[in-house]
């Protein structure tokens, strides 16, 4: 007797596997959901961390990493810490310095009007400064205009973003005045928040010469802002303290505000690995779910396995059928998970105003992880199914 061997077309293998899943829709959907949630969390964690990081980096890039600030250190007698009056002049003579600006502490409170008690300053400080500050900090005006050479000498103020809110300065359609110290000052503009100098958001700025003239302010800078040539940041940083105060260089504190943002970005990265770990746990649980469904399926479907053997299926056919089912479940779950993860990333990033970035590794890796789970979760049940003795299967089913 010459018999052609048993044969199952690949398309039939797929049909048999899919048919079995379709016959158990709810259970198949639930186990695929387990995989989907795991994959979705991995994709979303990677997507969201990249999107938020890119938002931070965009911000850092826009602000420039070449801003240095010089402040009076907290050395002895630092109660009313200030830098030497010559600071701005000497610093701007350093060849690698591109722009310099400074703020001077003004000893006065800011009030909405002259009826507010003097001690209710609302935590708002007053600084004198020069018109170059806005450019040095890459700041932006929300309404009105910044100080100019013309308004520098006069009782004219520009209000920081937080201070404007606290003082009720909403729009400048009508002339707005604030009561600073013991005199009325005209508001020329309102600032957008500064990313690199948050303390100025809670301040009202007036011209440095006006500060000197009306409030007897000594022009000893509280903070000097320095834009340095990109390629010489570290070298410049090293000489700034001595430049500002050659006698007591230790009293000048130099810092780089963008370091803070970069630290924040690094901190978010460490959270990312934590969430990735949690996502991996979710995926593992999903994989165990698939394996569980397959193992139970082998036990429940002994009759079907026995019948298939009786109508000519080889062990390999049975093995392939169960393997196909596991792989299909995991692939469906993985595809749904990737889509869900992308949707979550889009939704959250857009809500946060971030640019949406989904790293290809998240898409490919997520899908590959799902397939790998399917393979791992499918191998054992498939082998087990193929080893069931047909008579045993038909008897006990």
């Amino acid at each position: 007797m010459n018999l052609a061997p048993s044969r199952l077309r690949p398309s039939e293998t797929a049909r048999v596997g899919l048919g079995s899943l379709a016959a158990r829709r709810l259970r198949s959907a639930l186990s695929a959901l387990g995989i989907a949630i795991g994959i979705a969390s991995l994709v979303a964690v990677l997507g969201l961390s990249d999107s938020s990081k890119s938002a931070l980096l965009d911000q850092i890039g826009a602000l420039g990493t070449n801003l240095l600030t010089i402040e009076a250190g907290s050395g002895f007698g630092a109660g009313d810490a200030a830098l030497p009056e010559t600071s701005v002049a000497t610093v701007s003579r350093v060849p690698t310095v591109e722009a310099t600006s400074a703020v001077y502490a003004v000893d006065a409170g800011v009030y909405r009007n002259d009826l507010v008690p003097e001690d209710l300053t609302g935590g708002i400080s007053v600084y004198g400064t020069d018109p170059g500050l806005l450019g040095a900090l890459n700041g932006e005006i929300a309404r009105g205009s910044f100080l100019t050479e013309a308004t520098r000498d006069h009782p004219v103020a520009v209000v920081g973003a937080v201070a404007a809110e606290r003082l009720g300065v909403r729009n400048l359609d009508q002339p707005v005045r604030l009561y600073i110290g013991d005199r009325w000052v005209e508001v020329a503009g309102v600032l957008e928040p500064f990313a690199l100098a948050a303390n100025l958001d809670r301040a009202v700025l007036i011209g440095d010469r006006a500060a000197e003239r009306y409030y007897d302010t000594e022009l000893a800078p509280a903070t000097v802002y320095v834009r340095v040539h990109e390629d010489h940041i570290d070298a410049t940083r090293d000489v700034l303290a001595a430049t500002v105060d050659p006698e007591n260089p230790e009293e000048a504190e130099i810092s780089r505000p963008s370091d803070l943002l970069e630290a924040r970005s690094a901190a978010e990265s460490s959270f990312t690995s934590l969430f990735l770990g949690l996502g991996a746990v979710a995926l593992l649980v999903g994989g165990i779910g698939v394996a569980n469904v397959m193992v139970i399926g082998v036990i429940e479907r002994r009759g079907e396995i026995g019948l298939r053997r009786a109508i000519g299926a080889t062990r390999a056919h049975i093995r392939r059928q169960f393997f196909t089912e596991a792989l299909t479940l995991a692939t469906l779950g993985g595809t749904a998970g990737v889509l869900l993860g992308v949707a979550v990333t889009y939704g959250y990033s857009l809500a946060q105003g971030w640019r949406v970035i989904i790293p290809p590794v998240a898409l490919i890796g997520g899908f590959a992880a799902a397939v790998a789970i399917g393979v791992i979760a499918g191998v054992y049940p498939a082998i087990r199914a193929s080893r069931v003795s047909p008579t045993e299967a038909l008897r006990s089913a």
Partner: protein
């Protein structure tokens, strides 16, 4: 030289021992030939070894000793995959519990009898349609199995066994789950298939059914104790 017309099935000194303590001797040195076109009833008490004999005849199970020849081919020399091929192409099984797949239509359950031959789906369905007509269920072909009565389900199972044009059909208590009316119609169907020249071996508890069959084999404690006929020479 093999016999030019070997019997459909031949058991030569077949024993089957299930290991355990004590080991169970389900078949004890059974030799029997079933000729082409015969209709044979296998009778015996529960646990006498009837089902084991049927499974061994159909290569679902292998004997511990002795040999099983199907159309003259000694199956003890074949690999597991070759045995699968024999079951898929030369043997038709009918079980007491039908074993229909509930999720797919009647026609595809029948067409599944050809699934592992590699035949394409249109060709399988075509064959299934023809054999469903033969068992009187042509009109029900698109129904799902759970929309059928027990007797109809067993007809579907018989159609599945027949669709591959097997050398013989092995039916293990085909009426065991059916009421008497359905049983009668199934037995009639088996007789009419026999009338068309098919080889059919039926296990049955029902003495009246067995008595109606041209040849009866009685099994007791794994031994063939009565055989009312032999292969016609």
């Amino acid at each position: 030289m093999p016999d030019p017309q070997p019997p459909a099935i031949e058991l030569r000194d077949v024993s089957k021992i299930y290991p355990g303590s004590p080991p169970v001797k389900a078949l004890d040195d059974v030799s029997v030939q079933i000729g082409r076109g015969q209709m044979v009833a296998v009778v015996g008490q529960s646990g006498s070894g009837k089902s084991t004999m049927l499974n061994v005849m159909g290569t679902l199970d292998q004997p511990t000793s002795g040999s099983v020849l199907i159309e003259g081919t000694d199956t003890s020399l074949l690999t597991d995959n070759q045995l699968s091929a024999i079951r898929g192409r030369r043997v038709g099984f009918v079980f007491q519990r039908f074993f229909l797949l509930s999720g797919i239509a009647v026609i595809d359950n029948v067409a599944n009898g050809l699934l592992y031959t590699g035949a394409a789906r249109p060709r399988r369905r075509e064959a299934a349609e023809a054999v469903l007509e033969r068992v009187g269920l042509g009109a029900r072909r698109w129904h799902k199995p759970d929309e059928l009565s027990g007797g109809e389900m067993q007809r579907v199972a018989i159609a599945r066994a027949l669709v591959g044009e097997p050398a013989f059909v092995l039916a293990d208590e085909p009426t065991g789950n059916l009421d008497s009316a359905s049983s009668n119609s199934i037995i009639e169907l088996l007789f009419s298939l026999h009338g068309e020249g098919r080889t059919i071996v039926v296990i049955t508890h029902n003495e009246a059914i067995a008595a109606a069959m041209p040849r009866q084999l009685q099994i007791l404690d794994g031994r063939l104790v009565r055989d009312t006929g032999t292969v016609p020479q």
